[in-house]
C-alpha cells in the first residue's frame, strides 16, 4: 500500500508538469464556467422562468453533466501514458525489478490520476457555492452531493479502464484510442440494441450502460446498483491492468 502511494504521489506531481493534464483541467473548468454564466442569465430572468415553471438551474447541469461528457476524452488523455510511456522509456524494467508488487504499481498509477481529477473537481465546487447565493431557496445540497458522488464514481471507473488499457499497449496513442472506443461503447453504443431486445435483456444492457447510473445520481438518487456497478468496473479495470503486467513478464 505504501508503495502504491509512492507511485501515486509521483504520478500526481507529474500531472502538474504535463500540458495534457492542464488542457483537461482547463476544458472542464471552461465548460462548467460557460454553462454557469448561461445559467446565471436564466436566473436573472427568474420571474420569467417561474412563469414558465422552469426548474432553477442545478449543479448537475453546470458541472456534473458536462464534466461526465468531457471525461470520455479526458480519461483516455490522462491515462494513456501511465504504463505505455513507462514501457517506451524502458523505466518499466526499473519498476518491475523494484520491490513493488504488480498490483501496487497499477493501483498507484490509477490513484495518481484519480487524485488529479479530484483536485480539478474541488476547484469546480466554487461554482455551486456561488450559485447557492443566487438561487432563491438555495441549491439542493443533497442532489449536489449525489451528483458529485456519481461523477467521482464514474471517474474512478473510467480511469481504471484507461489504466488497464495503458498497461496492455506499448504506444500511448494506441492506448488513447482504445480507451476512447471502450468508453464510447459503454456510454453510448451499448444500449442501442436495447430497443429490439426482450425486456430482461434490454434492462440488462441498460444496467451496463455507464450513463444510466450517473443520470439517476444527477437527479439525486443514489442506487445500490449504481455504486456496485461503478466500483465493480473500477476493480475489474485494476485487475485487468495487473494481469496485463503479469502477461508482460511471462511473454
Amino acid at each position: 500500500m505504501r508503495n502504491a502511494w509512492i507511485i501515486a504521489t509521483r504520478e500526481y506531481r507529474q500531472y502538474f508538469l504535463s500540458p495534457v493534464a492542464y488542457i483537461v483541467a482547463f476544458l472542464i473548468l471552461l465548460f462548467a464556467g460557460v454553462l454557469f454564466v448561461l445559467d446565471m442569465y436564466i436566473v436573472q430572468q427568474q420571474t420569467l422562468a417561474a412563469y414558465y415553471a422552469v426548474t432553477p438551474p442545478g449543479v448537475a447541469d453546470i458541472v456534473i453533466f458536462p464534466t461526465a461528457f468531457l471525461l470520455l476524452f479526458a480519461a483516455p488523455a490522462l491515462t494513456m501514458r501511465l504504463l505505455s510511456e513507462e514501457h517506451r522509456a524502458g523505466t518499466l524494467e526499473l519498476l518491475l525489478t523494484s520491490p513493488l508488487k504488480d498490483w501496487e504499481l497499477i493501483f498507484g498509477k490509477w490513484l495518481g490520476s484519480f487524485l488529479y481529477l479530484l483536485t480539478v473537481y474541488a476547484v469546480t465546487l466554487i461554482l455551486p457555492i456561488v450559485l447557492n447565493n443566487f438561487v432563491s431557496p438555495g441549491i439542493d445540497l443533497g442532489v449536489m452531493a449525489a451528483g458529485y458522488l456519481g461523477l467521482i464514481l464514474l471517474t474512478a471507473a473510467y480511469l481504471a479502464i484507461g489504466t488497464a488499457i495503458s498497461s496492455f499497449f506499448n504506444n500511448q496513442f494506441a492506448s488513447f484510442f482504445a480507451t476512447l472506443v471502450v468508453l464510447l461503447v459503454l456510454w453510448w453504443v451499448i444500449s442501442w440494441p436495447a430497443g429490439i431486445l426482450p425486456y430482461n435483456a434490454a434492462e440488462f444492457l441498460r444496467s451496463l450502460d455507464t450513463s444510466t447510473h450517473i443520470d439517476s445520481m444527477m437527479g439525486g438518487v443514489i442506487t445500490l446498483d449504481g455504486l456496485v456497478y461503478y466500483l465493480s468496473l473500477t476493480s475489474l479495470g485494476l485487475f485487468l491492468g495487473t494481469i496485463a503486467i503479469e502477461i508482460r513478464r511471462w511473454r
Binding site: 522509456a89 523505466t91 525489478t97 523494484s98 520491490p99
Partner: protein
C-alpha cells in the same frame, strides 16, 4: 551470491538462452562476454526478477528468483542496458523516488552518497532530460548502488562513457566487488580482462567457456606464435623457416616481420634463430605473440556457430 541452474528462456518459439548454469560468489566480479543477441540481457532480466525463465531455477542472495522475487529484488542493484530514467524528473528527485520505493529510512543521505560515488553531485538539481548519455549512464549506476545491494547486476555499465569515466566507473565496480557479488556484461574484452575475476563467454544462448581471463588465455591457445625480424628481405628466409620440423605455419607480415606458429610446449625460437643466422641474416628481434582475448573470443564464438 548468484547461482543459476539450467536457465532456459523462450520468446515465443525463439530460444534466447539454453540450459545456462553458473555461479558468482561473494567478493567476485563475474563478466558476461558475448556478441549481440547472445542472451546476456535475457539472463540478467531473469536474475533480477523482471521475468521468469521458461525452465530452470536461480538463486540470488540466497533467495529463489521466482518463488521469493521480492526478497531478491530488495537485495539486488540493477542497471538495465538502456539505463532508463525519467526525463521529466530532477536527478535528485529520481533517486529519492527509487530510494522511497525501496523504503530506505534515510533516502536523502543514500541519494547523496550514490551521487557522490558516481561524481554527479553537482547535477543533483538538474533535469534528467538535460544530461548527456554518459551522465545518464552514471545516474543509472547511482540508482543501482543506492541501497548498497548485496548483489549488483550491471548490463554494459561502461557503454557511452568517456575514457576518464570508464576508468572511474571500473574503479567503483572493483571497490564494490571486494565485498559483494557483481555480474556485469560487456562487449569490451579488455574490460573483462581488467575487471573480472571470472569470465563467462556466452554465444547463442550457451556458455562456451568459463574461467579467469588469464586461464582462458592459457587454456585456449592451440598453438604458440612468435615473430622474427631480420635485416634485409625476409621473403628469402621464409622458405628455410617453413622447412624446420615442428613449424606449423610461417608468413611474412606486411611490416616485414616473419610470424610463425608451432605446437605449444615445444619452443622453436632458438631453432628459428639459428636457421636465420646460418642463412646469413642479421637478427634484429625475436618475440613471442600471445593470443589475445579478442582472438579467443572470436575463436570460441566461431566454433560454436559451426557446431549449430
Amino acid at each position: 551470491m548468484i547461482r543459476a541452474t539450467g536457465l532456459t528462456k523462450d520468446y515465443g518459439s525463439r530460444r534466447a538462452i539454453e540450459n545456462l548454469s553458473f555461479e558468482a560468489n561473494q567478493g567476485e566480479i563475474v563478466g558476461f562476454l558475448g556478441p549481440n543477441g547472445a542472451g546476456k540481457t535475457t539472463t540478467m532480466r531473469i536474475l533480477t526478477g523482471y521475468m521468469p525463465p521458461t525452465y530452470g531455477t536461480a538463486q540470488v542472495a540466497g533467495f529463489d528468483v521466482i518463488e521469493e522475487s521480492m526478497e531478491v529484488r530488495r537485495r539486488v542493484g540493477y542497471l538495465p542496458e538502456t539505463a532508463p530514467l525519467y526525463n521529466d524528473m530532477t536527478v535528485y528527485g529520481y533517486l529519492k523516488f527509487m530510494a522511497d520505493l525501496r523504503h530506505l529510512p534515510n533516502a536523502e543521505d543514500m541519494a547523496d552518497e550514490a551521487l557522490d560515488m558516481v561524481g554527479m553531485s553537482e547535477r543533483a538539481d538538474g533535469y534528467i532530460a538535460n544530461l548527456s548519455k554518459g551522465m545518464r549512464q552514471r545516474i543509472g549506476l547511482a540508482q543501482a548502488l543506492l541501497h548498497k545491494p548485496e548483489v549488483l547486476i550491471l548490463d554494459e555499465p561502461t557503454i557511452g562513457l568517456d575514457p576518464a569515466q570508464v576508468v572511474e566507473v571500473r574503479k567503483i565496480i572493483r571497490e564494490i566487488g571486494i565485498q559483494r557479488t557483481v555480474l556485469l556484461s560487456t562487449h569490451v574484452l579488455s574490460e573483462a580482462q581488467q575487471l573480472c575475476d571470472r569470465v563467462l563467454i556466452i554465444n547463442r544462448g550457451r556458455i562456451v567457456a568459463e574461467d579467469s581471463p588469464s586461464n582462458l588465455q592459457a587454456r585456449l591457445v592451440g598453438a604458440e606464435r612468435a615473430t622474427l625480424r631480420v635485416k634485409g628481405d625476409a621473403d628469402g628466409l621464409l622458405r628455410s623457416i617453413t622447412k624446420i620440423k615442428g613449424i606449423q605455419t610461417a608468413v611474412v607480415r606486411p611490416d616485414g616481420v616473419i610470424e610463425f606458429q608451432f605446437a605449444p610446449g615445444m619452443d622453436l625460437r632458438p631453432e628459428v634463430a639459428r636457421t636465420a643466422v646460418k642463412a646469413g641474416f642479421d637478427l634484429l628481434e625475436l618475440g613471442a605473440v600471445g593470443m589475445s582475448l579478442e582472438e579467443i573470443f572470436l575463436e570460441l564464438t566461431r566454433d560454436s556457430k559451426v557446431g549449430k
